[in-house]
Symmetry: C2
Subunit: 136 residues, 2 copies
Amino acid sequence: MMMDFDEKSRQHQLKITPQRTAIFKILTTARNHPTADNVYQEVKTEFPNISFDTVNRTLLTFAEVGMIEVIESNGHCRRFEPNLKTHHHFYCVGCGEITDFFHKEYDNLEIPENISRRFHVTGKRMVIKGLCDKCI
Amino acid sequence: MMMDFDEKSRQHQLKITPQRTAIFKILTTARNHPTADNVYQEVKTEFPNISFDTVNRTLLTFAEVGMIEVIESNGHCRRFEPNLKTHHHFYCVGCGEITDFFHKEYDNLEIPENISRRFHVTGKRMVIKGLCDKCI
DNA sequence: TATTAAATAGGAGTAATTACTATTTGTCAA
DNA sequence: TTGACAAATAGTAATTACTCCTATTTAATA
Ligand SMILES: [Mn+2]
Ligand SMILES: [Mn+2]
Ligand SMILES: [Zn+2]
Ligand SMILES: [Zn+2]
């Protein structure tokens, strides 16, 4: 896993720093869709002097080179997606929690012609909205 | 259309104020997925003293009663959806622009059992990601 | 037309993110 | 193995997007 990290980093000319290594490790075991602050709080236990900016910048860098993704939340803070496997989201409009789910029927749906012709598509996801069990 | 507005307002015990009426009118002719500030800037030409808070609060109120929706953006500001017809989104990871598209094949896909059993589902939408023509 | 709860304007406060800069560090070539 | 240098970092300031507060105004109703 850290092998992957070193390799990916070299591929993209990213220096392998202890901070980045720690952040990546946290992401591999992350609970669902952490915010920059979630990651910051966790990495601080190992690097008490790390700055929030370093964490946030690192996460954006990782996203830029495809090691993680930025997913959409409803206008609160930015959330990151460490799970690159094809999957879908249930989004609770009450508490904002995003729950992963897997559903083969959604995975291989075709992209409409008028979209694939007009844009460069890199991915797709079904987003189901509603209220979670806690918010009903 | 304003008929709809008055009716919906009464249905939900919302007072019909000139500010709300103006905001609603702007929404009916809105360009794609405006932010609160987008709406604020536009309504200010008609009501120079309207406060941002009034606009933002009104949009959230409209969303609460189902006159519009809040849609997800990637951690920047909140964006509103005035178009209640079933449709889907192309999301440009470069500039953040969200483009509507219609595609019947996506409209009637079933909700997976383990989701509908566990949550109260209110809607679903396919979100396709990539780069728009300007950002390629 | 008077009552009253809801809505508004204006401003203050807060949270999340981004920018700036002096210093440190990882990489690579000699 | 070392030295040069571009990249990365810590610490802090600034900005953006939103949310809260309160005195005043207003729409609805009886
Ligand atoms: Mn996910
Ligand atoms: Mn839309
Ligand atoms: Zn919830
Ligand atoms: Zn774009």
